[in-house]
């Protein structure tokens, strides 16, 4: 991407700002820019969300299908991520240009959701060894304005929060076949337990400090970024009394690096700590926003905005 | 000096050697390269063989799977052989799906093994119409310096010879399959096909036969691998194939068959000694 042209003095200005934890747009090093989030935007999907962070626009739809579990994991469902970089997001995505980026994002998501401490696949099981749910998480990048990983993970978590799985009764028939019974009532459904679902935080290294959610100017001052996937806290996603819910410690579910540079071990350690703090704030804010929206849907007060409605 | 000469005038460089009755690597026309063989070195596969002919390195690994036999042949198992020419073995091959040449090599190797009938597919059937073994034999080329097919066939045959099949019990009522890996029986391999490659170089009015050519020699003789492949199986000729290159006189053909036969004896002995040493 042809970044903004910056003189070396401007770069030093940004670098000094980061050093003093006061960036050129007034944020601290772990502050995000304002975001817009909306759930339930695609009526044909089981769950969906749209997120806009600065110039990045992401639409996520979750589809559900019934599948046969893997023989080595009979009691678990499946989840798959598919990223599509729309060609009008940025001119670079034309043809097969976005393929590599799309692959690396879906890989990152797959890795972040791998552990059952982040997303328990057991809740997708219908009948052990025979039938399970398979979630297809389709991520569409409508506009690319940097910081994709963070935006995608937020939108995916919101879409999964919004996902409803119909109740299915399973009974074992003769000959090892499974009989499935679906309720006639479309509202007879359960929600997913996604409190622990991970959020990815990208930390851009500028000088020897790291910042989250870099602006385009800041991005051009950095050669390497670190992506930290941090598991969420279910406490933030519950409306009921939160005292009896275990306060789960945030853990790293994946770490990866992006970009052609390298980092000193000390910077890496600081960045991981910083990422966890940032993820905690982000998780809390996301939980609040999602609960508020759900509340609004229940009392039929929800205002739809955005282009899809 | 010599390297630069080779780069600028590859044909002339080669001609100079041939006119002195010697090949660029110092071999005589009918001399083959040293062969090294190692079996069962890859423990993750059921059976394996690593072959080095000069610089050419080929690895064969066999994976076992179970499947229902084809409806047309309910009493046969499957033998699936594939040759993979990796992009790392030579700058000629690029990543991606197999090139035409790779498919040709794959076909020849499969043909040689199938035609020689060294594996009876009926031996691979466990229960009629219900269950059979599938032998996935994947042959990969790590370093391609000519004489590829010789090495592929040798690696494949030596791995097949060391392969043992675990004991399978099948319950026809519940369709339950149980595999006992502690009890194993060796696979029956009849015969031992050995392929020998030749390159045919047009030198003035006559053709010169080069046994076990290197990649450079193959390139000089028209490219795309060896020109003549002769395959013997326990004293019987089980296939000859000629691809491009110069014409071949009757005497030369007879000589090629004779050379191949001699080499076959050597290779047979090599494989047998190697497997004997391994089993000790």
């Amino acid at each position: 991407m042809a970044g903004p042209l910056l003189s070396s003095t401007e770069k030093i200005f940004i670098l000094h700002g980061v050093q003093n934890d006061y960036r050129s747009d007034g944020r601290s090093n772990i502050d995000y820019r304002p975001m817009e989030l909306e759930t339930d935007v695609v009526s044909h999907a089981s769950g969906s969300a749209r997120l806009r962070l600065a110039n990045t626009d992401i639409l996520v739809g979750v589809k559900t299908e019934i599948d046969v579990p893997k023989p080595d994991n009979p009691g678990k469902g499946k989840i798959e991520f598919f990223v599509d970089c729309s060609a009008n997001a940025t001119p670079e995505f034309e043809g097969r240009g976005g393929e590599q980026l799309a692959n690396s994002i879906s890989n990152m998501m797959q890795r972040a959701y791998h552990t059952s401490q982040a997303f328990n696949l057991k809740q997708l099981c219908i009948f052990e060894g025979k039938q399970c749910w398979k979630l297809y998480v389709d991520i569409l990048i409508l506009e690319c304005g940097g910081n994709l990983c963070d935006a995608v993970s937020l939108a995916v978590k919101a879409a999964l929060f919004n996902t409803r799985l119909p109740f299915v009764k399973a009974a074992l028939m003769d000959g090892g076949n499974v009989d499935l019974q679906l309720s006639d009532d479309p509202y007879d459904s359960k929600q997913l337990d996604i409190g622990c679902a991970p959020l990815l935080v990208t930390l851009c290294k500028i000088g020897d400090k790291c910042v989250v959610d870099p602006s385009a100017e800041e991005e051009s001052c950095s050669v390497i970024s670190l992506v930290v996937g941090v598991t969420g806290n279910p406490k933030f996603y519950c409306t009921e009394d939160t005292t009896n819910i275990l306060n789960v410690e945030c853990k790293c579910s994946t770490i990866g690096m992006n970009g052609p540079g390298s980092v000193a071990p000390k910077t890496l350690k600081d960045a991981i700590n910083q990422g966890i703090i940032a993820a905690k704030c982000l998780d809390e804010a996301l939980g609040k926003a999602l609960l508020r929206e759900r509340q609004e849907t229940i009392v039929m007060k929800k205002h739809s905005y955005g282009f899809l409605k | 000096m010599a390297e630069i000469y080779k780069l600028i005038h590859p044909v002339k460089y080669f001609n100079d050697y041939i006119s002195r009755n010697v090949r660029p690597d110092g071999r005589q026309f009918h001399e083959h390269r040293n062969i090294k063989l190692n079996v069962n070195s890859i423990k993750a596969s059921e059976a394996s063989g690593v072959v080095k002919c000069g610089n050419t390195t080929v690895i064969c690994g066999i994976k076992l799977e179970l499947a229902t036999p084809k409806a047309e042949e309910p009493d046969s198992g499957f033998l699936v052989t594939n040759v993979e020419l990796l992009p790392l073995c030579s700058s000629k091959f690029r990543p991606g799906p197999p090139s035409d040449y790779a498919q040709v090599v794959s076909n020849i190797v499969t043909d040689i093994v199938m035609n020689s009938e060294c594996i009876n597919l009926k031996d691979l059937c466990i229960v009629y119409d219900k269950l059979a073994w599938v032998l996935y034999c994947d042959i990969v080329c790590i370093d391609n310096d000519g004489g590829l097919i010789d090495a592929c066939v040798m690696a494949l045959i030596s791995s097949l010879k060391t392969l043992t099949l675990p004991n399978v019990t099948y319950d026809p009522e519940t369709e339950d399959i149980k595999v006992d890996i502690t009890k194993r029986s060796p696979l029956k391999v009849n015969g031992l096909p050995v392929a020998t490659s030749f390159a045919i170089f047009p030198f003035f009015e006559k053709s010169i036969l080069l046994t076990d050519p290197s990649a450079y020699e193959e390139d000089m003789c028209g490219g795309n691998g060896a020109n003549l492949i002769v395959c013997w199986n326990k004293g019987f000729l089980c296939g000859t194939q000629k691809f491009g290159g110069s014409t071949l006189s009757m005497e030369d053909e007879k000589q090629a068959l004779k050379i191949a036969k001699q080499r076959t004896k050597l290779v047979e002995k090599l494989i047998e000694t190697c497997i004997d040493n391994e089993s000790k």
């Binding site: 692959n103 690396s104 552990t115 853990k251 579910s253 | 690994g61 179970l66 084809k70 993979e84 675990p166």
Partner: protein, 308 residues
Amino acid sequence: MPLDFRRFNGPEDSVSYTRFTQDFLKSYDELHNELINKSNLRKDGRALDEARSMFARTDMISQAKGSAYVELKKTKVVCSVFDPREIPHQNEFSQLGQIFCEVKFAPFSCSRQRRPAAPDAEDKSLSVALRQALEPAVCRHLFPNYQIDVFVYIIEHDGACLAAAINAAGLALADAAVPMYDIITASSIAIIGDKMFVDPTEEEEHVAMISPDSENVNHGIITMSMLSELKQVSDFIQIGSMDTDCVIKAMDILEKECAKLIPNIQQVLVMNVVQNIEQQKKLEEEAKEREAALNAKLEEWKTLLNAG
């Protein structure tokens, strides 16, 4: 999945026979308890913090510019590097050279299943990780608009294959005389509960990737590659779930492990240079002999010409 017409395919419904063996569905606890015996040693007799000895050599592949082979007991990896070539399908000028990496598992490399012949998601993610690890190590400004191809083939996978691949690629690049800033080494660690398995085997990695039923137990794998002289981490990949203290502790161990590999790699590289110099000397001597013979012939002709 679409059928691959360029290869011979087996029957569609074939399954590995290991599914029907008794050991297939072992519980997590069984698998876990098997890893360590009573005297706190691993299955292959190593202590927890003991890495496997690495065997490495260069100049494996005659057709490649540079190549290397790395073996960690059963894990076997071969890598080759080719001459720089122009970046294909690119119109713009690129100031920095590019590195193209491809990692591929052999179909027979894994004991659990047969690998598909076409690259799958794991192959691709390893390729990306390898590129990430190598980019900071190579002086890319020296070959603008060119790309270096690095191909890695995993012949046998018994754990820590990404670390082995990075080590092999580093050696192969050095063998191909690609200018680099530092020697690159990589090491891997598996974490299961409070135990850390340095340089894990495939079995240990498998257990580390399963999340145990009891909540909040650390588990996962970390691979880190380092430029030890410059004290820089060029790639860091963590999968699983673990708290920060655990990550940082593992990072310290990996840093030491990476440094331990350096003398080994240096030795291989020095051997490589010594051999090359000897080879060069031999060639030069031969060239001299030939030249002397030619000169003698020339003199002979000259005398013949003069004589008559």
